[in-house]
């Protein structure tokens, strides 16, 4: 058994670094869903969009050697996925939850199958290593000797989203649709168009979150690698009371729980079952979603397709 002093500075640093890094996919996806839900559209399929983003980034990075290009392609995939969900939820006024579940299943199946199609039988569990996003070197020791550019992007996205939602014309109109689409319509706002834009933005951010997982946090695509993070992102949306800045906080919290089980379990030794630590993010989500931490108020018209009279 490896003896580790839990209060060793290096250990704490590595824990904090893990927390930051693991919060990124959840924060991106969570902010995206906040934007979509504030416009009244629910996208449960963001878990699947994350996977698709991860896979496409891996694919492109493998064949072009450029991880950033991979992220760009992931963004395109996000636009497509968001558009499809929009067509079903907004134009066809179909069941938003069923559409999301279908998207997830498709993504799970497609990415797992395509691993083998592209890289052969041996790649059933994961792809080969692919070029990773170059990290930014920092003049700090140990775990913080370099930092991912996505961490900075994540913070910028959170701040920018908050600003756009609460200070700009576009944000005001978007929020009005999620609360009272009829009032927005009468005020002359094109409800459907704004909803489409919001849904696509949501999917793009989820795809970016997934891409980060594959070509930054890791440097390969692992089968089913999102492991429910899309759903944890949904919980963060509730936890943050639909506020992008609080999504940052929520993401860090879940990132911490996630990092805990990855770092702590080996530190505690082989004898300690890691499963209980692995459960922490999910139990935390349960607690958050049932409003044990105060009742959160969703946008009043979320999930209801808008019918023009």
């Amino acid at each position: 058994m490896v003896e580790v002093n839990l209060f060793d500075a290096a250990f704490i640093m590595s824990l904090l670094a893990a927390m930051l890094r693991l919060s990124v996919p959840i924060v991106f996806t969570g902010i995206g869903e906040v934007i979509a839900e504030r416009a009244g559209v629910v996208n449960i399929g963001i878990e699947g969009v994350m996977l698709l983003g991860a896979f496409s980034a891996t694919y492109v990075s493998y064949f072009t050697g450029d991880a950033w290009l991979g992220v760009l392609v992931a963004i395109i995939i996000g636009i497509l996925s968001g558009y499809i969900h929009g067509v079903i939820a907004i134009s066809f006024k179909g069941d938003q939850i069923v559409s999301g579940v279908g998207m997830n299943m498709f993504a799970y199946g497609f990415t797992a199958a395509w691993l083998i199609v592209i890289w052969g039988e041996l790649a059933a569990g994961n792809s080969p290593y692919v070029p990773r996003i170059p990290q930014i070197p920092l003049p700090l020791p140990g775990a913080f000797s370099s930092i991912s550019p996505f961490i900075i992007l994540m913070i910028l996205t959170a701040v920018a989203s908050y600003y756009i939602l609460h200070k700009t014309k576009f944000g005001l109109r978007l929020r009005s649709i999620g609360e009272n689409p009829a009032a927005a319509d009468v005020a002359g706002i094109n409800v459907y168009r704004v909803q489409y834009i919001a849904t696509i933005i949501g999917a793009v951010l989820a795809a970016v979150g997934g891409a980060y997982l594959a070509v930054d946090w890791n440097s390969m695509f692992v089968r089913y690698m999102t492991a429910g993070r899309g759903f944890i992102a949904l919980a963060t949306v509730v936890f943050s009371n639909w506020n992008p800045l609080l999504v940052l906080v929520g993401g860090l919290l879940f990132g911490f729980a996630d990092g805990l089980q990855i770092r702590l379990a080996p530190a505690l030794g082989v004898g300690f079952p890691p499963q209980f630590l692995q459960m922490v993010p999910y139990i935390l989500t349960l607690i958050v979603v049932t409003g044990a931490i105060g009742r959160a108020k969703p946008p009043a018209a979320v999930g209801k397709p808008y019918e023009k009279e």
């Binding site: 449960i44 199958a113 999910y282």
Partner: protein, 362 residues
């Protein structure tokens, strides 16, 4: 305002609508297949060849049919479970977790206890029922009391169930000589025997069939089923009719969880005779596809489960030819589900055809 009635007395269109529902499912399935064909072609193989092999693999001979039914068995049960939940207007995505808990409890009952077979099997199944229902109880209560959305809560329960059963298997019931994490074999008195020799088809299939009829009976002939349907269709009118909406809702979820639990028991008692860690390739989610394709109808769910079971069992053969793994089936299911989300897709297509004809005639 005029009191004119614009709707004239119309003859029954119920036949038409049942057919329309069937058409919707067939349409979604057809579109899924087309998409699957595109994917196979994109991977560089002939879709016709691939599907041909798939069909032959699924239904080619008695052995294949037995394998198909064996694959379908857990799907029948999870499909029934999700269908009951849908009927009352609720989304039980927790089928996967309830399946695992049922499977593990079935293992415990079969391993730790010894009883004569005729009592042992029902007893163990009862344990699975309690396990599955119990696992559904928490999300149900959280929804009724705190308004927590059942989609997120049930999915979390899935992960917790998988982690919990993995833990119990690895740390308390590990079979030392096994190459994969699994438990020792259960007592032979709890085993559901194979009914077609040299196949995987066990008596769990019969259990599934019984459940189909039980669910049918509950929904169509019991006041409880009536109330479940009423709550799903129009809770306001149901309340007015004296039905306690939250009570019925929770009971419906319990039934749903129980069915998924039985599904897990079927796998433990019939297929593996032990609990295998992470044994489910997604039976819970397949259950969603089954319920949607089967339009929440117990018989429909049976047929849809056999259909998806055929896809999975045929996919094994398809892999030999195309190297496409069986996960492709999941992708096709996903597309089918997406299309199933479009309301009245058949009506939209008919309208589109009308428009096209109109402009062509010009």
């Amino acid at each position: 305002m005029a009191k004119e009635e614009s709707k004239s007395q119309q003859p029954s269109r119920e036949r038409k609508i049942d057919i329309s529902m069937l058409m919707q499912s067939l349409l979604a399935v057809a579109l899924g297949f087309i998409a699957g064909g595109i994917m196979v072609a994109a991977a560089g193989y002939s879709p016709v060849l691939a599907y041909g092999v798939l069909l032959k693999g699924a239904f080619g001979d008695v052995g294949s049919i037995a394998e198909t039914l064996a694959q379908a068995t857990p799907l029948i049960l999870t499909g029934l479970g999700v269908a009951v939940a849908f009927t009352e207007g609720c989304f039980n995505i927790g089928a996967e977790g309830q399946l695992f808990i049922g499977a593990f409890l079935a293992f415990l009952g079969g391993y730790l206890i010894a009883m004569p077979a005729p009592i042992h099997i029902p007893f163990v199944i009862l344990m699975a029922i309690i396990g599955g229902a119990g696992w559904a109880l928490l999300p149900a209560i959280l929804k009724v009391k705190r308004g927590a959305h059942e989609v997120v809560t049930t999915i979390m329960m899935n992960w917790i169930a998988m982690l919990l059963t993995t833990y119990l298997t690895l740390y308390h019931f590990l079979e030392p000589t096994a190459s994969i994490p699994e438990t020792p074999i259960i007592n032979s008195s709890a085993v559901l025997p194979i009914i077609v020799p040299r196949t995987a088809l066990s008596a769990s299939f019969l259990v599934a069939l019984i459940c189909v009829f039980v669910v049918y009976y509950i929904l169509k002939r019991m006041p409880l089923g009536y109330e479940i349907r009423a709550v799903g269709l129009n809770p306001t009118a149901a309340e007015y009719g004296g039905i306690s909406v939250s009570k019925v809702w929770v009971i419906g979820m319990l039934i749903s969880g129980a069915l998924c639990g039985i599904g897990g028991a079927g796998v433990t008692l019939g297929t593996y005779r032990r609990f295998v860690d992470r044994f489910s390739p997604g039976y819970g989610f397949d259950g969603i596809a089954v319920a949607l394709i089967g339009r929440n109808n117990p018989i429909g769910a049976l047929l849809a489960a056999i259909f998806i079971g055929a896809l999975y069992s045929g996919a094994v053969y398809m892999r030999l030819v195309t190297h496409m793994p069986k996960e492709l089936v999941m992708a096709i299911e996903g597309i089918i589900i997406i299309f199933a989300a479009i309301p009245e897709a058949t009506r939209l297509i008919r309208k589109a055809i009308e428009h096209w004809r109109f402009w062509r005639a010009r």
